[in-house]
Assembly symmetry: C2
Homo-oligomer: 393 residues x 2
């Protein structure tokens, strides 16, 4: 005999939620799901029940479930779906169709940024630049910026994203293990704007396990994309998830336990982290840590690649890159840092480890103000010695 | 052809250390091992090279390797081996013999505390008390106290213990995952005394992986115990270790990476943790958070069990424990907290969740100042309702 639902005690249970010790029927599961969204929004004061809220919608199961769930949980709020059409061949059109289908179904406003039409390039074009192996990284920068633009167009100060429990906890663990504390603190449920006029970024699904978004989509007949992005490399992401599953295997509450741990830790870390010093990007006027923001730098690179074939890489000389100093400074060093960081030569990679010619041994360059911050491994010393050997022959 | 040693380039390599990208011969491994101890002691300023240092020695591979390694690394320092004879049948005598063998071999002073002779009981006697399933916990409290006593007798202010990298990192992770931050910060390499006259507790093996202690013992022909303690339950310990090995499997540097992470985190957490308020134990005069310290409370319990057969448990009434209030206060509630904590009844376990008779539903008791700190699960609510049901019938 199948188990009956732990809530209504009448329908057959279809969903098992071990962390909550619940077995629910489809209807009670949907209630449970939207109630959790409501409680999360209220507990973290993400927005008020009559606010105008932008929802970043990619077409994937998480963001589509988010938009639907928010509408159910806050019938009096005004939601605007924000979508970036990335122009990825065989993928973006499909995503956009699904988004259009859902907003129609929910009778929700939609604001789209069409990358190809508005800026004259697509994410595919990064394949011809120095980002060819890091398309996802460039795409992330582009999307983050354009969701801000879309929120501005939609006149909303709150931007809700579909980050789920598994996303957030595995990113938290990863940042924690790597002592990347400035990124770790940015994973909190409500991220205040870095500058006035920017949005509050909120994560209403931060307590929702990933697989429940899929279930909710299926039970609520929510359309969502079935294609995978052709640029996605899931290797590292999958490893992080496997780690999370391993740690959860004897403890169905592990992810929640970790979330609570990090939510307690973040305010403590925040007191110890220097806030980034921001100014306005000289091109677009959005907040930036350097003269020209990361978005505008990437746009420049991809546009130059399209018009002149210049991939933004240092000049190749035969088979080798050649560096050049001008006025005692590397020509690739700009106010925004190294222009060829991903392609910098071995010597730059090993810095601040340098070879002291008088001592005849590797030392940490005394000019480097951060010299104590580096963990120099024996293998680095060996790499430096091999490099010196190669240069001397 | 076998690989040759990466250091001396002559002898055959016998030890592979992937985290350091080294393959070493036996001799170079021993140098590497003792050099790391020297560097660890110096980097964390554990003691000066001519100090008098107490070394807690149990007879196990870690502490035996520690004593030997310290002697090698600091020939000018004065080490005193401190050993507690726990009186465990078929085990403690064996451990003590090994310790006596090593101090003889190294020509090191030895100070022994013989539990049976000096206090009239052994760790085995806890089997007849309410600690029968928690002998290791009681033993830990006893040992921590007696090493302080021994350090006093040996006139040393520094107490070195054999905690290795794996011990420390797995305890750190475990405390971190459980948000047990006051225990986490106590795992730092040098733990300052809580009160004047107490010892500085130092961990010279904090950077030494566990298996290298065994190797060092074997290569240096150090005697160490071959028996396992009959009271040891390795279940949880083994699970913690398995987790650590899983996390390390693709990254031989993981344990060091974690150690660095926590060593950066601890000073930050320390600023946010309330220091325990300590006073002198009324019985022994050692620092204690309550009127009578944890050591003296356990000694009292074990001695009473030996003389009167009173196991320190609440009175049983038929098959059930019975609680009793005196002057509106539970008789088991003392200045040191609940006297029967491990045996407290279901209602106490569920507190601050209580059943509000007028509302006819479970609520968090408004009298509890920590009510917001508890994560109440649905299963707790169900347990409370079942309890009420049982009490009403």
């Amino acid at each position: 005999m199948p188990a009956t639902c732990s809530r209504c005690r009448s329908a057959a249970a279809e969903v098992n939620l071990p962390y909550a010790k619940l077995r629910l029927c489809a209807r009670c599961f949907k209630d449970f799901y939207t109630n959790r969204i409501r409680r999360t929004v209220e507990d973290f004061k993400m927005f008020r029940s009559d606010d105008r809220v932008g929802v970043a919608v990619s077409g994937g199961k998480d963001s589509m479930a988010l938009l639907h769930g928010l509408k159910e949980a806050f019938p009096a709020a005004e939601f605007v779906a924000l979508h970036v059409d990335l122009g990825i061949r065989g993928y973006s059109e499909h995503c956009r169709e699904k988004v259009e289908e859902l907003v129609e179904m929910l009778d929700v406003e939609l604001e789209v940024f069409d990358l190809q039409r508005e800026l004259g390039f697509s994410i595919d074009d990064f394949k011809d630049t120095l980002y060819r192996r890091k398309v996802c990284s460039a795409c992330g920068t582009i999307k983050r910026h354009l969701f801000e633009v879309l929120a501005g167009r939609a006149k909303t100060r709150v931007l809700a994203t579909g980050h789920n429990l598994d996303d957030v906890v595995s990113m938290m663990l990863n940042n924690f293990f790597n002592r990347n504390w400035s990124q770790l603190v940015r994973l909190k449920p409500v991220l205040e704007p870095l500058m006035p006029n920017q949005t509050f970024k909120v994560k209403p699904l931060i307590k929702t396990p990933e697989d429940e978004n899929l279930l909710y989509c299926l039970y609520s007949e929510i359309p969502f994309r079935e294609e995978n992005c052709p640029h996605a490399h899931l290797g590292r992401l999958r490893r992080n998830r496997e780690t999370l599953e391993y740690l959860s295997k004897d403890n169905p509450n592990f992810k929640y336990q970790m979330l609570r741990t990090f939510l307690k830790l973040i305010p403590i870390l925040e007191e110890h982290i220097e806030k980034p010093k921001l100014r306005k990007c000289e091109v677009c006027g959005y907040p930036s840590s350097s003269q020209i923001c990361a978005f505008c730098r990437r746009v420049k690179i991809v546009k130059e690649a399209r018009t002149s074939g210049n991939k933004g890489e240092p000049r190749r000389d035969g088979k080798k890159f050649r560096l050049k100093n001008k006025f005692g400074r590397c020509v690739f060093l700009t106010d925004e840092g190294c222009k060829i960081y991903a392609f910098r030569p071995e010597g730059c990679r090993l810095y601040p480890l340098v070879f002291d010619d008088s001592l005849k041994k590797p030392v940490l360059d005394e000019l480097c103000p951060y010299r104590e911050e580096f963990d120099i491994k024996k293998s680095d010393l060996e790499r430096l010695l091999r490099l010196i050997e190669k240069l001397e022959t």
